[in-house]
Symmetry: C2
Subunit: 187 residues, 2 copies
DNA sequence: CACCATATAGACTGTTTGGTCTGTTTTCAA
DNA sequence: TTGAAAACAGACCAAACAGTCTATATGGTG
């Protein structure tokens, strides 16, 4: 076999980047192919399900990306709600600003465009959210919160962050994101 | 003139409905035309700017729709944070459920797909958000909050609701939306 | 009644879409 | 060394896309 899938990873990463910036439907297969350097044959070899299967992989990959960022923030602030929420917000705000307010949540747009029509993409989205809630909730628990209160707090922080990533994009401002970090750091 | 724009309103409403459910790029002009009953000539007569101009009008219309719902909730609960937040959440959850978890926020998907590339649509989105924050903030102020705390609370409730509308769709559940109402009602 | 801007109507066009299909190259195991 | 599976490669296709164009109907006003 050809060294093991030279193009597969490039395809997934490029798809994630484009879906994040301009959405699922606006990102044509030809654009993804161009920017990843892969030919069409490779796409349909690795993803027989076509664009929808690629989107599922892109959502999984994006879930991983955010989970790693959250784990890194947890390592630095394992039992400090305010510091953890602030670090989470600071990273998202930084990513947003340095992309010209284009790179918000890497799964939100794709999910809104395809869920619930496409169950596989929705399931990938649910997996990503579950993982994020687990990580955020573990910090809340470590900082002394009861298990169910910690879970509620984690859910709420993630929801507020998702909303802030929309508002920040519309307003071209980091403030809505940083506000979420401050608000949930003060609970 | 022909009775004054028979098709204009139908076009905007249909566009809003389709953009809300399946996104901006996935909603073809021909589909919007079919479902609204308008011919292509009327679309380009009323919206010389084409699809993007129609999207701007659809976002404005959606901003109005949500603003009216919030004003109705404010009339019922002018100075009761918990009741107001609960009513807001209950309405959004109801709309979501009765559409089979398809009708979330009527502007979020379109904004994520087009902002910041299209400044006119982004501006319409900002106008809608400003109006919503004003209404929600006025309830917080009436219930005894300081002006700036009320504004922060309003921003946060709206951000959390936007996020919950994504999560609810992915999970096919009203719970994330109702949770936001409870959490922000308990502040 | 006649005029004319407003609005309706849809055929048509060049481009792009996601997807299929037929080969060729690479790599490992036998 | 050779056979076969895995991966690469891109020409090709029907359908759908946003947008243009020309023609027709409508109805208030002079």
């Amino acid at each position: 076999m050809a060294r093991v899938a030279k193009h597969r990873q490039a395809l997934v990463q490029t798809a994630m980047r484009l879906f994040r910036r301009q959405g699922y439907a606006s990102s044509g297969l030809n654009q993804i192919l161009d920017e990843s350097g892969a030919p069409k044959g490779s796409l349909y070899h690795h993803f027989p399900g076509g664009k929808e299967a690629l989107a599922e992989a892109a959502v999984d990959h994006a879930g991983e990306l955010i989970a790693e960022m959250l784990e890194s923030a947890r390592e630095r602030h394992p039992a400090d709600l305010a510091a953890f929420a602030g670090a989470y917000a600071a990273t998202m705000a930084e990513w947003m600003a340095e992309s010209g307010f284009r790179s918000g949540c890497p799964i939100a747009t794709t999910l809104l465009e395809t869920t619930p029509e496409n169950a596989a993409i929705a399931a990938a989205g649910a997996r990503a959210l579950d993982r994020w809630v687990d990580i955020v909730g573990s910090v809340a628990r470590q900082s002394g919160m009861q298990a169910d209160a910690a879970r509620r707090w984690a859910h709420m922080l993630i929801c507020a962050m998702e909303g802030a990533l929309i508002v920040a994009r519309v307003r071209k401002s980091k403030v809505p994101i940083l506000d979420v970090g401050r608000y949930f750091g003060a609970q």
